[in-house]
């Protein structure tokens, strides 16, 4: 593992996005319970990690994150940077009171946001495509991830559980 190859604009971009996105998480008025906030952050981190290690690395290796194909500290910060976007998605879902019929517009809106963020990320050299991977291939990825997130959150909203369901810890 290396820290970074060259500390230049992609590192500045990741740091500024990281600080800005977590500052927004802290500053936004709370609309969802703490455990869903945590789950949405973990969801954002895990989905970014899954995609990068599956299509952005290994045998497929369709894009390079930051300066090299090696694991950099900046890569970890990049995955952490994506975590708040899971929260922003859920936050907007609550803020706009999204329902079954409006979910499609919400997902399409976020896909446009995703395309914009990816365009900036590519321009700032955070992601560099290779092996025939094209920019527009991100659209199916956004649609799949956001649809799963939207449907899953809709399910959680529709199926609240009570304190009585808490089970005892073994031991």
């Amino acid at each position: 593992m290396i820290l970074w190859e060259h500390f230049d604009r992609n590192e500045w971009y990741v740091l500024l996005m990281l600080i800005g996105s977590y500052a927004a998480v802290i500053a936004l008025p709370r609309r969802i319970p703490a455990h869903l906030l945590i789950l949405s952050l973990v969801w954002g981190f895990a989905s970014a990690t899954l995609l990068d290690f599956t299509i952005g690395g290994g045998m497929m290796d369709f894009y390079k994150v930051n300066d090299s194909n090696r694991y950099e500290l900046t890569d970890v910060l990049t995955y952490l940077m994506f975590a708040p976007f899971g929260y922003f998605f859920i936050y907007g879902y609550e803020l706009l009171n999204i329902r079954k019929k409006t979910l499609i517009y919400y997902i399409l809106g976020w896909t446009v946001v995703g395309i914009g963020v990816q365009w900036i990320s590519e321009w700032m050299k955070m992601t560099q495509y290779q092996g025939g991977y094209r920019y527009e291939y991100n659209i199916p990825v956004f649609l799949v991830i956001q649809t799963i997130t939207g449907l899953f959150y809709g399910y959680l909203r529709a199926h609240p559980i009570n304190h009585e369901n808490k089970r005892e810890t073994p031991g």
């Binding site: 593992m1 455990h35 869903l36 789950l39 981190f45 690395g57 959680l156 304190h163 369901n165 031991g171």
Partner: protein
């Protein structure tokens, strides 16, 4: 053949999770799945790609089997383990489910080695067992912390 084995293992683990009486809520189950997925991905990346301690097959179908194992089977086995542990409510039951999961994961890794989907260069099943047990402890600890956040509020989803 490793693809078939890993596909069947993923199907079986998913079906066991679906059909078992779960003692964790949906949010808790997903939390454990995502935590183990994210940590497992990072560990496998360090072991295979960064330090080159393990060679992973470049055969497309076998590699797909490996991806299915890493993404589906491995984290789901931890979710099953924690559901079983919390359901028993006793230390002996929790330890039994933990030991069973260690045995299952080591058996699956053994099968991947047998079908040459992995080749251990400077690695062995003992190191695998250490990582599996450490991840069990991490998943248990993080779930307990998550539960604290979860049951602090009123209406829980």
């Amino acid at each position: 053949m490793s693809f078939v084995v890993m596909f069947v293992a993923a199907w079986l683990s998913s079906f066991i999770l679906y059909s078992m009486n779960k003692s964790l809520s949906v949010a808790e189950n997903v939390f454990v799945y995502l935590i183990i997925l994210a940590i497992g991905l990072n560990i496998s990346w360090f072991v295979a790609e960064e330090f080159k301690l393990v060679d992973i097959t470049r055969n497309g179908l076998s590699y797909t089997g490996f991806l299915i194992y890493r993404t589906v089977t491995f984290p789901i086995l931890y979710v099953i383990m924690l559901n079983a542990a919390f359901k028993s409510g006793k230390t002996a039951g929790a330890l039994l489910s933990a030991c069973a999961v260690v045995a299952v994961i080591l058996s699956l890794n053994g099968l991947m080695l047998f079908y040459e989907a992995f080749i251990y260069k400077k690695w062995n099943l003992f190191y695998d067992a250490v990582i599996i047990i450490l991840l069990q402890a991490v998943s248990y600890g993080l779930l307990k912390l998550y539960r604290k956040a979860m049951y602090r509020g009123g209406d829980v989803r």
